[in-house]
Amino acid sequence: MYVQIRDLTFRYKNSDEDILKNLNLDIMQGEVISVLGQSGSGKSTLLRMIAGLEKPSKGTIIIDNKIMVDRDTFLFPEERGVGMVFQDYALFPHLNVEKNIRYGLHSFSKKEQSKRLQEVLELVNLTEFAKRYPHELSGGQQQRVALARALAPKPSVLLLDEPFSNLDADLKGRIRIELGRIIRQSGITSIFVTHDQEDSRAIADRVVFLESQNHKSPLIKSL
């Protein structure tokens, strides 16, 4: 399995209740998984643990045979090679589109950087917007820049946190199709989190349902 998550448990420092408990999940390479759940079900926390932004209280995450976290190991986010698109996109406001994307390419040579930049810009259809600043872009364009930036360093896994929550309803349909296309085209293993069943079904190969911990039902149901 490409991504293996075993017995993943998370609890906030000041809380005595587990947000996630003994979660197990396997993902094949190139698979697009959608994690569906109510707010508070811990779905964003799951992404943040895969990214290394939160430390699980228990459990293992292995990506491409590399241990990200287990009892003895904890790789920092900058060491994981995982891409993430944040709910608020988190584009660096003082850098233009090109520089935002280049930011993650620091280990590439100058020539490779330019090549990769062109590739991802074409992928997200924003070639003419390279010199624009984030505030000069629409919400949908900003999202595509965030996507391009996350994809540029060729991460092992792409994580998307509520990718449609910041968009107008009438735009959503079109952008959903576009996002689906980009992810398929790049062939990257992706996990995205949402609370909207329709979003899930539209893009994902497989939908994973995450239930809130206070229900005693099984944690994960494949739909």
Partner: protein, 547 residues
């Protein structure tokens, strides 16, 4: 015509009062400039030829180095506190604001007393370690020493502004940068510092303006700057004309800095693409990194607060018997009553100008607001000169009237009275009250005001029934800040106080000048304690607002 019409519509009590306050500010500053067009005196030629270069050089050295050091230390502290968790972090978060309570001149006297031949450092080395040090090593009465003092006690300006900026950022920005493979120090340099540039420049400009305003430190250390030169021409040579010319030159430097600030700050606004979904999560430091952060913080806190306070406490203990006499109570009453009158006027004026601006929203009212905040950028010595000239000419114009009231009246009445000093305080610190009140108005918004108007209340009635009660926290905040600033003010007070009128601040200055530094302990501590109380009060209010 339209302009006049629009403004006539708003011609009421608010506009008239606003106009009067603004007029006062403009007048006292314009008068300084008019001197530039008059024939200079002989002294001026001398000053220009031999001294001016020195004033400029010293002033530039002081602002450059103090600006650089406050930037480096203030920003690094803000970074540590905003993003990392280490031992005593929560304590330091507040502790780095505290040096604001210590006026720079008190810091200077304290460190001089601490480090001079009879001070605790040298005498301990001598008596306990039997070690004779080269006194030159501990001599801080030079430009380097002044930079040291300014940096320590003006640090909070940069620290508070930059850390509040950092804390308002969305944590996803930093998290993204990490996911893209960047290390913390790299993120600081590539993301955080460029983003914080306006905040940093804002903080450093405040520091620079404070340095230009300073008189107490440079005078004591024997460094000739514009402030000391203005005093010397006025009191030493009795040459008002040269004093005014120096003031005008200093004012030009201030304008230059304000323009520079606007330019470097840049017009680009970086706020539209980020939302604040997730507050910054602190990263826990461990091992040597935690130790390093703790030690660095402890060093700065000790130097900028703990050590001077302990020294002042010690001096107060050995001198309070001599210092606390009837005269001292008179001093206290003087300080507090003058500060009270000035602060009440400041708050009153702030409310009027801010309300006028809010209601009318015309260009004119916005200009008023700009002018109102301008006073804070002008060094005390310059305001002092402007106000002095204004009051003397008023006295000359009013002499006929004095004669009617009292045939034996002297020519100078107003300019010999406390009114002049209070007027100067108001001009200098109006910005502080005004900013507070304006922020308060912005928070309330206009909808309550409009609702009240539609329910049949006039502007003024609405103000008393709706606005004023809602504005109370902002008024208290503005009052406290302005009160403390007036209480510790030195250069204005020294120039403009009536004969034999002393305040806590001038007494501290006098003790230090008379080589009686330990005696300055008690009045210094009183100023510091009042400032501390106000800091805690404001902090509590801010916490309450943030929930």
């Amino acid at each position: 015509m339209r302009f006049i019409k629009v403004n006539l519509r708003f011609l009421n009590v608010w506009s008239i009062f606003s106009f009067l306050f603004v007029l006062g500010i403009i007048f006292s500053n314009l008068l300084v400039f008019t001197s530039l067009f008059q024939a200079p005196s002989e002294n001026w030629e001398h000053i220009k030829e031999y001294l001016l270069a020195d004033y400029i050089k010293n002033t530039l050295l002081l602002i450059t180095f103090t600006g650089t050091f406050t930037f480096l230390i203030g920003t690094s502290l803000a970074w540590l506190i905003s993003f990392y968790d280490f031992p005593l972090r929560n304590f330091y978060k507040l502790a780095f604001i505290l040096p604001l309570a210590i006026p720079t001149y008190i810091g200077a006297y304290t460190y001089t007393g601490l480090l001079n031949y009879t001070g605790i450092v040298q005498s301990s080395l001598r008596n306990y370690l039997n070690y004779q040090v080269n006194p030159k090593l501990f001599d801080i009465m030079n430009i380097g020493g002044a930079v040291f003092i300014f940096t320590l006690f003006l640090l909070p300006y940069v620290y508070t502004i930059v850390s509040s900026f950092f804390q308002n950022q969305s944590s996803s920005l930093i998290e993204t940068a990490r996911l893209l493979g960047r290390k913390p120090l790299n993120i600081l340099l590539t993301i955080l510092l460029p983003l914080a540039r306006p905040a940093i420049i804002g903080g450093v400009s405040l520091v620079v303006l404070e340095v230009l305003n300073d008189y107490g430190v440079v005078k004591y250390f024997g460094i000739t700057t514009f402030s000391t030169a203005i005093f010397k021409s006025w009191f030493g040579m009795g040459d008002i004309d040269s004093a005014i010319r120096l003031a005008a030159s200093l004012l030009i430097i201030v304008f230059f800095i304000l323009t520079l600030e606007k330019m470097v700050r840049g017009r680009k606004r970086f706020d539209s693409s980020t939302s604040k979904l997730r507050p910054i999560t602190l990263q826990k430091l461990s091992g040597y990194k935690a130790l390093l952060a703790f030690t660095y913080s402890f060093l700065i806190f000790s130097l900028s607060f703990l050590i001077p306070i302990l020294q002042l406490l010690y001096w107060s203990l050995i001198t309070y018997n001599n210092v606390l006499n009837n005269k001292f109570w008179q001093l206290l009453v003087n300080s507090i009553s003058v500060a009270l009158v000035a602060t009440c006027t400041i708050v009153f004026a702030s409310v009027i100008v801010a309300n006028f601006q809010r209601i009318s929203g015309t260009k004119l009212s916005k200009a008023y607001a700009k002018i109102t905040t301008f006073g804070y950028s002008i060094p005390g010595a310059v305001i002092a000169i402007g106000v002095m000239v204004l009051f003397i000419s008023l006295d000359r114009k009013l002499f006929w009237f004095y004669n009617i009231v009292n045939p034996e009246s002297a020519e100078l009445v107003l300019s010999m009275s406390l009114a002049m000093l209070i007027f100067a305080y108001v001009i200098r610190f109006l910005a502080i009250g005004f900013n507070s009140v304006q922020t308060g108005f912005e928070k309330i918004g206009k909808k309550f005001f409009e609702a009240s108007r539609t329910l049949g209340m006039t502007t003024t009635k609405t103000f008393f029934k709706i606005d004023l009660p809602m504005l109370k926290p902002a008024l208290v905040g503005g009052f406290v800040l302005a009160f403390v600033d007036v209480l510790k003010e030195l250069p204005l007070t020294l120039i403009l106080r009536p004969f034999n009128f002393d305040t806590l601040a001038t007494k501290v200055y006098q003790y230090a000048s008379d080589e009686m530094i330990p005696e300055a302990g008690v009045p210094s501590l009183i100023i510091i304690v009042v400032s501390l109380i106000s800091i805690f009060l404001l902090n509590k209010m801010i916490m309450k607002e943030e929930g």
